[in-house]
Structure formats: structure tokens, C-alpha cells
């Protein structure tokens, strides 16, 4: 897995690049110190990041065979047979479709709001910046599970403080429950994304705006033509994290299962992974996991490339 060049560029290594490869054997200075610095992370990263990914792939290639109906189960190599099952599994693709339609609506809405709030905070139009910054960020301190429990109460027809609305609108019905969950996720993350974008805005030197003002550009024009292009990297970063989060949805729908019968055990891809693993059918669950991870990676990578092409035109 290699990182896209732009991410490397963004990492801004201040070191000179290596000279001609090979040939010159240079002695590495301070090898012991480097080992002390890197080893703890490298060992843990190998054990708990690299190894699980490899092991999931390995498990997804096995099938359970039994001699007779109640015979002893043995794991044998089954090639891609689990993956054939994944591709034939209707509910799994339905759940992928569900999180994709969720993401197509929720991610732009959330990031659009975050961008608008960040630009407002950065403009002279808003007073009490400190208060708003904090008030909008507070929901991020609420864990997804807790936020989902809280909103579950707020949505319910009889417990909610807004019974006038909730008794007439079925937020927990099969039609709306996906968007009810989308609102929970939006509520938690808008302020967090706003802060990331806002801190990118703060890093822009203000002299840039002087010239624009002299040319008679208003606040909107400055925001659209100067600020947004300059903070594109931050917006892309929040976009990638949001896409990953959407495909991996688990906690909120899992909590909503106790509020709404419309949320099934196959509602999102990760719920499928969880319910398949507790059957237990770990080999199929591993195959689901691998396909989901690849889909997540492909989608965030495509998004990165797509936004770069747009930015570099």
C-alpha cells in the first residue's frame, strides 16, 4: 500500500531527498536511538494492524467441512468460495447500497454545514466566536452510542419532549429511520469537522484579503474565490474521514435496533459482519470484512484522486 504523492507532499518532509540509490553505503547514525524510538510502535502496529488484516484474508479463504450433519468440523482451504457467497448475498449488497445512499446525502450536508459555520466564524459577521466554537463542538464529546440512545428517546413517539412532532412523524419507521440515524451522525460530527476547517482558515495569512478588498470584493466573493480554494486540503481530509465513517456505520444503527424494529441485523455492512460472526460463521464474516475494507479503501482513494484532479485543473 503506497500513499498518493500528494499526501506525501502534504506531509512536508523537510529532509533532503536521498541521493542516487544504492552504491553508497552510508553508516546510519544513532541506530540504537532510532530502534528505541521506532520499535514499540512498529511491534504493536505489526501485531494489531498488519497481522489482523492478513489473518482476516487467510480466514476468508477457508471453509468449514463436516463429516455428516453433526460430525467434527474441520477447516479446509476453500479458495474464493466464501467470496462467491458474499457476491451472491443479497442483504449484504442491500446494506452497501443503504450506506452509500446515506453517504451521498449525509456527507455533503454535514460538510456543507461545517464549511458554512467555519466561514461564518472566520468572518467579521459573527460575534461571540468562542462561545459558538465550543457550543457546536460539544456534541463531539458525546460517544456515538450515547448520542444514539439520547436521540432514540428524542425520536420516540411517547418519551420525546417534542411529542407534537414525533407522534405524527414516524422517525423510527422503516422509511425514515435511516435519515433519523443520519441526523444523529450529523449532530455529533458537524462541530468537529467545522473546527478542522476553521483551523485551516486561521492559517491563511490575512494580507491575502487586503488586495481583494482593494479590488472591491465582498465577504462572499472572498470566501468563494480565496478561502475555499485555499482550505481545499482540509475539506478533502474531512471528506475522506466522513466517507470511511459512513461505510463503517455500526454503533448508531446497533443502538437503534432497540428503538425500532425497522433496523434489522443486516442494516449496514458492519452489522452484517457482526451478526455473521456471532452465528458463528467467522470465515464468511471475514470475507464480508475484507470486501468492506477494500470498498472503503477504493472509495476514499477515488475521492482523493477525483478532488485532486478538480483542484489541479
Amino acid at each position: 500500500m503506497s500513499a498518493p504523492a500528494s499526501v506525501k507532499a502534504a506531509a512536508g518532509s523537510t529532509l533532503p531527498g536521498r541521493g542516487a540509490p544504492g552504491r553508497r553505503k552510508t553508516r546510519v547514525a544513532h541506530p540504537a536511538a532510532i530502534a528505541i524510538f521506532i520499535l514499540p510502535f512498529a511491534v504493536l502496529f505489526t501485531l494489531f494492524y498488519v497481522l489482523p488484516i492478513g489473518y482476516a484474508v487467510y480466514q476468508s479463504l477457508l471453509v468449514i467441512e463436516r463429516d455428516g450433519t453433526f460430525g467434527k468440523a474441520t477447516e479446509v482451504f476453500g479458495g474464493l468460495s466464501q467470496y462467491i457467497l458474499v457476491f451472491q448475498n443479497g442483504p449484504f449488497w442491500a446494506s452497501i447500497g443503504r450506506v452509500l445512499s446515506f453517504g451521498v446525502v449525509q456527507v455533503p450536508v454535514m460538510l456543507g454545514l461545517a464549511l458554512i459555520f467555519a466561514l461564518l466564524l472566520d468572518s467579521p459577521l459573527v460575534r461571540g466566536k468562542r462561545f459558538f466554537r465550543l457550543a457546536f463542538f460539544v456534541p463531539y464529546a458525546v460517544p456515538g452510542v450515547i448520542a444514539a440512545i439520547m436521540w432514540g428517546f428524542l425520536y420516540s413517539p411517547n418519551l420525546s419532549p417534542f411529542t407534537a412532532i414525533t407522534s405524527n412523524v414516524g422517525f423510527l419507521s422503516a422509511d425514515l429511520v435511516l435519515w433519523a440515524i443520519a441526523n444523529v451522525v450529523t449532530w455529533v460530527y458537524v462541530g468537529y469537522n467545522m473546527l478542522i476547517i476553521y483551523s485551516a482558515l486561521l492559517a491563511i495569512p490575512t494580507e491575502i484579503y487586503e488586495a481583494a478588498r482593494l479590488d472591491g470584493a465582498g465577504q462572499l466573493r472572498i470566501a468563494w474565490s480565496i478561502k475555499i480554494p485555499l482550505i481545499m486540503p482540509a475539506i478533502v481530509l474531512t471528506g475522506i474521514f466522513s466517507i470511511i465513517g459512513t461505510l463503517q456505520l455500526l454503533a448508531e444503527p446497533q443502538v437503534f435496533r432497540s428503538f425500532s424494529s425497522a433496523v434489522t441485523s443486516t442494516f449496514t455492512p458492519n452489522l452484517m459482519v457482526y451478526s455473521t460472526s456471532s452465528i458463528p460463521n467467522v470465515n464468511l464474516a471475514a470475507a464480508f470484512s475484507v470486501v468492506l475494507a477494500l470498498a472503503t479503501f477504493a472509495l476514499s482513494f477515488t475521492f482523493l484522486k477525483f478532488t485532486q484532479r478538480k483542484a489541479g485543473k
Binding site: 503506497s2 440512545i149 432497540s258
Partner: protein, 268 residues
């Protein structure tokens, strides 16, 4: 300005409601104004919650504090050391290591939960403290952030000066460089703390023993039993309220530091 005020309501009213609901006795919960106080019953509610099932709620809070506090501290130390080494030393495989770590940033924690469960089953360590604690010590994003920050804020001359003074590399890191990297380290600590505190899938899939649960998993378990045990509803609400407070306090205490560190992640 109006837009900001309207959305302030959207963000704060649910939390206000939770706070008000937490102060009410169960009999007044549905019969009084949901957004205003009735008879203040907060202390009694907390006492009942803490007493319930031999204080299992306090155990959960302590577990969460330990998983997230100790986990984030160690994760920050390891990530900071690695980021620093990547920024300030030259050794073979440096770029490769950094690229693998960047790939790791794109791997979501939830995608690793099931494979981690399979691995921990192999060594019979599921349903233990370590099954949740150990995987949380890895923060690829922390390596990325501290590398950028160290490259920008720790001058080579300073390291050279420390060498001339006869300080070892590791000692230089802990006495000089850590101070310069402090905003980034606090940011990494906060991010990792929140990530662990909010983590749900890993404990859900790893833990069976109630006494090992973090507070998120505990409240989730109670919430799914509300239909059989109605009294749990009040406990879930007051528990949810109490579980938010530590994070809010932490944000407020460390606000000064993480604001300056947050911008580093998106520098071109």
C-alpha cells in the same frame, strides 16, 4: 448570526434535555415539562445508579478511564517517538515505513475489530482487559501528525547543541523535543482518547464479562434490556449524562493546546 443562534439550539437542546431528564424522578419524567426542571432529584438518581447491581456503573466508568487514559497516553508516546524519528533521522526503510503508516491511517478501526477478535481467540485472550487495551495503543494518525509537527518545530541545530552538551538522543527527545512538540502530542492524545472512549465494536465483539465493559458498552447493554426491565430507562439516561462529563472537562482543560495542534494535520 441568526443562523448561528438557530443551530446553537440544535446542538445544545438535546444535551439540555438530557441534563433536565437526569434531574427528574421516574414518576415525573413523563408527566412534567421535558425541557424544564421539576423536583430536583439528581443526587438521588446518581445514588440509585451507583448502587444498582453493586455499583457496576462505577466499574464501567473506571474501565473507560483506564482504557482511554492509559491507552491514549502510551499511544501518544509511541506515535510521538516514531514520528520524531521519521522526521529527524535518516535510515533505510524510512519512506517505506511512513507509507505503510499512511495506509494504516485509511484503515478504519471498525474494520479491524473482527480480525482482532479472531487473532485474540487463537491465543485465548478474548474477554480480557488486554483484548481491548492493546489494540488501542496504535495510532497511525498520531505518527503522521507528530512527524509533520516535529519536522516543522524541532530545529536540527537544537538537537546538535544537545549532542555537543553530551546528552544522548533519547534523553534529548524527552527533555528538549517533547516540549517543542507538545501541542501536537496533546492533539494526538485527545484524538486517541476520544477514539478509545467512543470505541464500541471492539469491546462489543471481544467482551462477555460485564465487569470489563467500558461505559458505552454497558449503557448499550442496559438500553437493549429496557423493555424487560423498565427501571433501567432512568439509569440509562443519568448514566449517559455522567458519561459525557469527563470528555467535556478534558476538552476544556486542554483547549489551549489542541487548537494549535489541530491545524497541523491539514497543512499543505
Amino acid at each position: 448570526m441568526t443562523v448561528m443562534l438557530v443551530f446553537t439550539l440544535y446542538f445544545l437542546v438535546p444535551i439540555w434535555w438530557l441534563f433536565v431528564a437526569g434531574t427528574k424522578s421516574s414518576s415525573q419524567f413523563t408527566s412534567t415539562n421535558p425541557l424544564w426542571f421539576a423536583d430536583i432529584n439528581l443526587i438521588q438518581n446518581i445514588t440509585n445508579l451507583v448502587a444498582y447491581r453493586d455499583g457496576v456503573f462505577l466499574t464501567w466508568m473506571l474501565n473507560s478511564a483506564l482504557y482511554a487514559g492509559a491507552g491514549a497516553l502510551l499511544a501518544t508516546l509511541f506515535a510521538g517517538m516514531t514520528g520524531y524519528a521519521l522526521a529527524k533521522y535518516r535510515f533505510p526503510g524510512r519512506e517505506l515505513l511512513f507509507n505503510i503508516v499512511l495506509g494504516g491511517v485509511l484503515v478504519p478501526a471498525t474494520a479491524l475489530a473482527l480480525p482482532l477478535f479472531l487473532i485474540f481467540s487463537q491465543v485465548s485472550l478474548t474477554n480480557t482487559f488486554w483484548a481491548v487495551f492493546l489494540p488501542s495503543l496504535v495510532s497511525p494518525f498520531g505518527v503522521y501528525l507528530t512527524r509533520i509537527f516535529a519536522a516543522a518545530s524541532v530545529p536540527d541545530e537544537l538537537i546538535e547543541a544537545a549532542r555537543l552538551d553530551g546528552a544522548g538522543e533519547v534523553r534529548t527527545f524527552f527533555t528538549v523535543s517533547v516540549r517543542l512538540m507538545f501541542p501536537a502530542l496533546v492533539t494526538v492524545f485527545l484524538f486517541q482518547f476520544v477514539a478509545i472512549w467512543n470505541n464500541f465494536f471492539l469491546p462489543l465483539i471481544m467482551l462477555r464479562d460485564e465487569t470489563l465493559f467500558p461505559v458505552t458498552l454497558g449503557l448499550y447493554a442496559w438500553n437493549s434490556q429496557v423493555n424487560q426491565i423498565p427501571e433501567l430507562r432512568g439509569y440509562v439516561l443519568i448514566g449517559a449524562l455522567l458519561s459525557i462529563i469527563p470528555l467535556i472537562i478534558l476538552f476544556l482543560l486542554l483547549q489551549r493546546f489542541w487548537r494549535s495542534g489541530l491545524g497541523a494535520g491539514s497543512v499543505k
